[in-house]
């Protein structure tokens, strides 16, 4: 009798897993969203070498100027970065946003060539070649974008490329409201 119950074990495991998968699919949660612990907290340390030649390294002071700042991690090898890039160009030129760009795990000459070809929307650009700063910032990959208010508090964390809707519904109100 006991041995027979033992044979039911794989079946029960299967049912349990199917139930979990069904719940995951049907509960309407976004499986891609892994949240962020940074929102509402002071931005992590920003200490990277400058991407462009003859520029001073980036420091935390850039994030505590009293003006809202957008911090964008990108890489020339990343296709979604290509898609969101015109949006940053527009934010920089049309909306006067201060954007800090950090080339993550990207060789500086390649990142510079990429920016030269597509246009450079970054007021400050850093190179995080070994990904150490990305680690501090809780990066899961590129592109990721943080909205940091004038006091250096992270207000919003986008994982993945920003979209037109993000710009209109979140970023522009943030830039206006935090000023």
């Amino acid at each position: 009798m006991n041995r027979r119950l033992l044979f039911l074990l794989p079946l029960a495991t299967l049912a349990l897993m199917a139930g979990f998968f069904a719940w995951s699919l049907l509960a309407g949660r976004d499986p891609a969203s892994i949240g962020s612990v940074l929102v509402g907290r002071p931005a992590p340390r920003l200490e990277v070498k400058a991407l462009r030649d003859d520029e001073p390294p980036l420091t935390d002071a850039l994030l505590r100027t009293g003006k809202p700042t957008i911090v964008n991690f990108f890489a020339s090898w990343c296709t979604p970065c290509l898609a969101e890039h015109p949006l940053f160009t527009r934010l920089a030129t049309r909306d006067g946003a201060v954007i800090v760009g950090v080339a993550w795990k990207n060789k500086p000459p390649e990142a510079r060539a990429w920016l030269k070809r597509l246009g450079d929307p970054y007021k400050f650009a850093g190179a995080d070649l070994d990904g150490r700063t990305g680690l501090d910032w809780g990066l899961s990959g590129v592109p990721e974008t943080y909205l940091v208010d004038g006091q250096g508090i992270v207000r919003r964390h986008f994982r993945g490329p920003i979209t037109e809707r993000d710009v209109n519904e979140t970023i522009l109100p943030f830039l206006k409201g935090a000023k």
Binding site: A83, T89, V167
Partner: protein
Amino acid sequence: MLEFLLALLTTVTVGALLVPLLRTSARRTERLDSALQIYRDQLAEIERARADGTTPETEAAAARIEVERRILAAANAADAATPKDSSALHRFLPPALALLIPLLALGVYLNVGRPGLPAAPFGTRPAADHPNPNEQMTPERLLAEARARLAQQPDDPDALSALGEALVLEADGSVTPEAIEAFNKALAQRPDDPRAHYYLGLHEAQSGDSKAAVARWQALEARSPPEAPWLPMLRAEIARVSRAAGMPAPQAQTGMPTPTRDQVEAMQSLNPEQRQQAIRSMVEGLDLRLKENPGDRAGWLRLANAWRVLGENAKAADAYAKADALGPLDTKTLTDWAEAHVRQIAPGAPPPPEAVAVLERLEKAEPRNALALFYLGAASFAAGDKPAALRRWKTLLQLLPADAPIRGLLEERIKAAE
């Protein structure tokens, strides 16, 4: 090599099926043999013991009977384990399988296989799939070509647009500032350059202004001739961008619904009267859709043409007017429109003012248009402007071939005007 491998596989499979069948019968006879061997040994021992006198005669006889009984039992057991029919099966199944499987495979192959089919190497595919690989349109190549053209003609809008396009291709589809500059320069030379407008719209979509992009593209769509090669892609892009931006999907070009194959076949089985009725109901359906969605210029043009062909000239003229309000018409369309108007005129009567308006536009676009000359002459005549009427009619008379049937009527009219 492959054929050999396949043959080997078949052999192995058939072998794997045959081996157990042959093995079981062999094993069974072996077991019986070894049992009999033991009993034989036992019988020999009993006989030896009896001869020695170590076993009394009666006991030896009982032991022998016992062993013989076991021999019979073993033979019975072997017989029971090999029923007659199964032994027949064992005999016939292996050769049958060995023959049937290859035969079956051969049959399937003869049915399905096409041994004469030539291989389809890369080079012999239709040229459309693979244009000459030596002339592949790499962005670098396009860029070099456009720059070479610009070196000769710095203001050529085609070359400027081509340069912009090459820059976009080089940037993996992102419309870069450099490309925008090229497109703007092209537009300065030719304000309606479709390629420049398309890519500037793409830039607007990429930089978060989907509304402007869709508006620009829709204007381009309305300007484009109906057979423009870029229209399908343009419409797909409009749909994609407005969907991505969460805008209400733009009304797709309604137009005439393309009849399905079934509908065409059903149409062919109708008699002429029913067919006319079916066509009319389709055109009326288009009319209704356009009333709900009056901004569809191409749809109005198609409707106007359909009514004109069906002889509904008043409805056709209306539809042309609707299309006209949405965008300028070419001379051919103006002619059709004017024709729809003048066909409603009773013989001998002057054209009404709406018709005159269209005819005057047609005359302006094409001063030697026979239709415009004839009916505008009639309008001038009716309005009492005889010199204008004479001028138009005489021009027309010169244009007409010598054997035109209308000549007599025209000469009569000219006489009356003089």
